[in-house]
Amino acid sequence: MNDAIRFTLNGKPVTLETDGDRSLLWALRTDLELTGTKYGCGAGLCGSCTVIVDGRAVRSCVTDLNDVQGAEVTTIEGLAPNGRLHPLQQAFYEQGAYQCGYCTPGMLMNAYGLLLEKPGASREEIVRGMESNLCRCSAYKRIVEAIETASERMGGGHE
């Protein structure tokens, strides 16, 4: 019952011979050994597994492999392809917008998706767009500030 799941992952084509009902999260973390994407709740409630599928932030724990057939998927490992930090990563790093770091990849990917959708988002739009991502260390204040910094540096997000 294995299917051939083909998609683009961080700019490179991948093919998985596996059951298409499996979740994207566990395929990434096990088959593809990209462990930056984290399990947090398994029900799409915390956002720590957020990745980008065709330009939109999605919860990989509730996304089937069938759903990414032919799609372009970007994970945290694809955000700094040449080792040069993305403006969001740079701002999170400089401004201490993380503590334990476990929710951080999901925060960054959700913010990335948000700025793709709303370049130059206002503070209110950032708060609304990030609302479903949880940070138990509660670095929320700095995360919002870092996204604002990155958004400005991206010149309204056109990058």
């Binding site: 462990t35 399990y39 999170f92 204040k141 995360i143």
Partner: protein, 708 residues
């Protein structure tokens, strides 16, 4: 009790590959104030608390039994070592939480890393600098006092061309030095690395996704385990049928001594296999629930310990101008780290290696050894980055589960609790009942304080107001709850007991101030003579822009004040709130926090902890409450269990009271302890309603508003 063979010093240095090792022995009692520390001290060349290794290439390694769970200890401990060794931050690599290579440590909790372990690190580094300067004096043919150190290079003062580096000095050496803590530490005025806020050392890995947590460890042939769980605490397994799971290809079933597990090369197959396991449990009839727990706690609590006793309570009560008898309640709260408890275990050549998300690697090593019938030297616990702890990862059964399954199957095994398992097996912050009777005289001086706390414990109940007639009785500590008091496990939760105690105590203070129409800041100032408390109160008031006013003002917006002491740090907060009197919804608009924590090692790191405390605290203030029926936990994920979110965030301002005469004090917990009271006091100012129970949900706030 130590069952580890003590290593010979020479062997120890060889293990590290030559160079210079500096060892610190402060004595377990100095560091930990615990006989247990002595009993379980590890078998290093000496009973050591910290050590540094300077390699022949000049690289310095600091070994620490502490762990990094977000609190920033990796950076602040490295800063302290760099400061007193006289090297740049980048020169030092820190190894944390590995029981094979790091000195024994009690665990990372209680805001102890900086204030207790920090001195050991600094002493080791200072002594290493002395040793190296001595070697340099010999090499350069000058006396030691003519030498200075700059970034790992010893040079002759006034003649920088005559120099030798730490690496050159370490070459060919096999030196161990023991430190007695008397080496001279750098003074605050000389600080080059301490007192600054470099980018955190864990930052780059954390923003790129490269940071490894226990669940990110990959070993060829590793199996993912899912374990059969009971529906309630106290339930017993009657019957189990694993035949359907066994029939699945690629699934291994283990059923041994109450541990029923299914394992597979991918976690989803294991999950499907677990769904096929049929099990019947006997579930005991629930005796207590979310609402009846408070009466139960008062009835079932053990006899009290009296931690404060002075004056004559009865006489004071009859002489008081006004007395106030108020009872406060706090619910069970989960730790809910976003990383659930996780472990990977591998058995190789009779040695178990366990990668664990833990705040206590050495405690877990001991637990695993005991449960597996192995000696501790055959168990190694390695702690990668920990995805949040807050007191909830001091223990954790996942390590023993992984160890058992790895031993039975012969394969490396990962046990990663699901969110539901995390909510079930968490050691919750205990529910609490707090009965406070207090009284004042005609001048607004507090003359009576009769305080009783059930379920929570003593931390945060100390009286720092000047009250002649006082009593504090503590009915049970969270760590020593008798069987049956709580229907499930409880444990340390960020500043254990203090969140409950300050919620009651600082509301009670406000109630008295309001009753005599006195500004709540003035009331506190006239009732304490503790200079550090006066300092944080005045500082927070100035930072906020406090104008005196009696409460309540009842205009829908309110201002609250609360203060306390935790981990030897003094803290005071002011919060502004807006209350919707139609819905009972409360929005915190602004929080100002002042802290006196002695020398501040890393100001930005300390601010991050203060901000995190305030923001995380809003969760238990407004939403967090573990609901249950007996041993059945009704909240199992973030849909019903409400953590603080982005939209809840107020403007947060943090300010330090400068106190460089005092060594560094704790920073990971103090700012959270007053969050209940500071918000409750602000709600009172806004509405005239007193909220006596946490969390202050809209329903509860609305009910109290309607009573006013």
């Amino acid at each position: 009790m130590s069952d580890v063979t003590r290593m010979d010093r020479r062997e120890f240095v060889k293990l590290l590959g030559g160079g210079i090792v500096v060892i610190v022995n402060l004595g377990p009692l100095t560091l930990f104030n615990s006989r247990a520390a002595e009993a379980f001290q590890r078998g290093y060349p000496e009973d050591i608390n910290a050590y540094l290794h300077i390699a022949e290439d000049g690289k310095v390694t600091l070994f620490s039994g502490k762990i990094e769970m977000g609190q920033g200890a990796m950076t602040s401990l490295t800063q302290m070592a760099a400061e007193d060794l006289g090297v740049s931050l980048e020169t030092i690599h820190i190894v944390m939480g590995d029981t094979d290579t790091c000195p024994w440590d009690m665990g990372t909790f209680g805001s102890l890393s900086t204030r207790m372990f920090g001195p050991a690190v600094r002493a080791a580094a200072a002594q290493a600098r002395l040793v190296l300067t001595d070697l340099a004096a010999e090499r350069l043919g000058v006396s030691r006092d003519l030498l200075a150190v700059d970034d790992g290079v010893v040079y002759v003062k006034g003649d920088r061309d005559r120099h030798v580096s730490y690496g050159e000095l370490a070459e060919g050496q096999e030196i161990t030095h023991t430190v007695d803590q008397k080496a001279v530490l750098r003074a605050v005025e000389e600080f080059a690395v301490m007192g600054s806020s470099p980018l955190r050392l864990d930052g780059h890995e954390k923003v790129t996704g490269a940071a490894k947590f226990a669940g990110d460890i990959r070993i060829p042939g590793m199996l993912y385990a899912r374990i059969l769980r009971p529906p309630a605490h106290g339930a017993t397994l009657k019957r189990v049928d694993t035949s359907a799971a066994e029939a699945m290809t690629g699934v291994t079933v283990v059923n041994e001594d109450g541990l029923v597990a299914v394992l597979s090369a991918d976690p989803e197959t294991a999950e499907r296999a677990l769904e096929l396991v049929k099990a019947d449990f006997d579930v005991p009839t629930p005796e207590v629930d979310t609402e009846s727990i408070f009466d139960h706690l008062v009835q079932a609590a053990p006899a009290p310990n009296t931690s404060e006793q002075a004056g004559d309570l009865e006489a004071a009560r009859s002489e008081c101008e006004q007395t106030f008898d108020v009872t406060y309640y706090n619910s069970y709260v989960a730790h809910a780290p976003i990383e659930p408890h996780t472990a990977v275990a591998q058995l190789e050549d009779g040695k178990l290696t366990v990668w664990s998300s833990t705040q206590g690697p050495f405690g877990q090593q001991r637990t695993i050894a005991r449960e597996m019938g192995m000696s501790a030297e055959h168990v190694r616990v390695i702690t990668p980055y920990v995805g949040g702890g807050f007191g909830g990862k001091v223990g954790g059964g996942q390590v023993v589960e992984a160890a058992r399954l790895a031993t039975v199957t012969g394969a490396p095994v990962q046990v990663a609790w699901t969110r539901e398992e995390e909510f079930f097996y968490d050691t919750f912050r205990p529910a609490a009942v707090l009965k406070v009777a207090s009284g004042i005289d005609a001048d607004g001086k507090i003359t009576l304080w009769d305080y009783q706390v059930y379920g929570a414990g003593s931390r945060g109940s100390d009286v720092f107001y000047d009250i002649p007639n006082r009593s504090v009785r503590v009915y049970g500590e969270w760590g020593r709850a008798p069987a049956g008091l709580h229907p499930f496990g409880v444990g340390a939760w960020r500043a254990p007991a203090a969140n409950s105690n300050r919620f009651a105590a600082e509301q009670q203070i406000d109630i008295m101030a309001s009753a005599i129409g006195m500004d709540p800041l003035e009331f506190r100032l006239i009732n304490t003579t503790d200079d550090r408390m006066l300092g944080v109160l005045r500082t927070v008031a100035e930072a906020y822009g406090w104008e005196p006013a009696a409460t309540p003002r009842k205009n829908g917006r309110g201002r609250g004040l609360a203060c306390g002491i935790d981990a030897e740090t003094y803290v005071a907060l002011i919060a502004d709130v807006t209350v919707d009197s139609e819905t009972g919804a409360v929005k915190v608009d602004r929080v100002v926090c002042a802290q006196d924590m002695g020398v501040v090692v890393n100001p930005d790191g300390a601010r991050m902890q203060m901000e995190g405390c305030i923001a995380m605290g809003l969760g238990y203030v407004f939403g967090e409450e573990v609901r249950f029926q007996g041993g059945k936990i009704l909240d199992s994920n973030f849909d019903t269990y409400k953590l603080a979110r982005f939209s809840w965030m107020p403007r947060i301002d943090t300010v330090f009271v400068s106190n460089d005469d005092l060594p560094p004090k704790g920073g990971g917990e103090p700012a959270i302890i007053n969050m209940g009271a500071v918000v409750a006091n602000a709600i009172f100012d806004a509405t005239g309603a007193r909220i006596h129970r946490l969390p202050m949900t809209p329903d509860r706030v609305l009910a109290e508003i309607r009573k006013t």
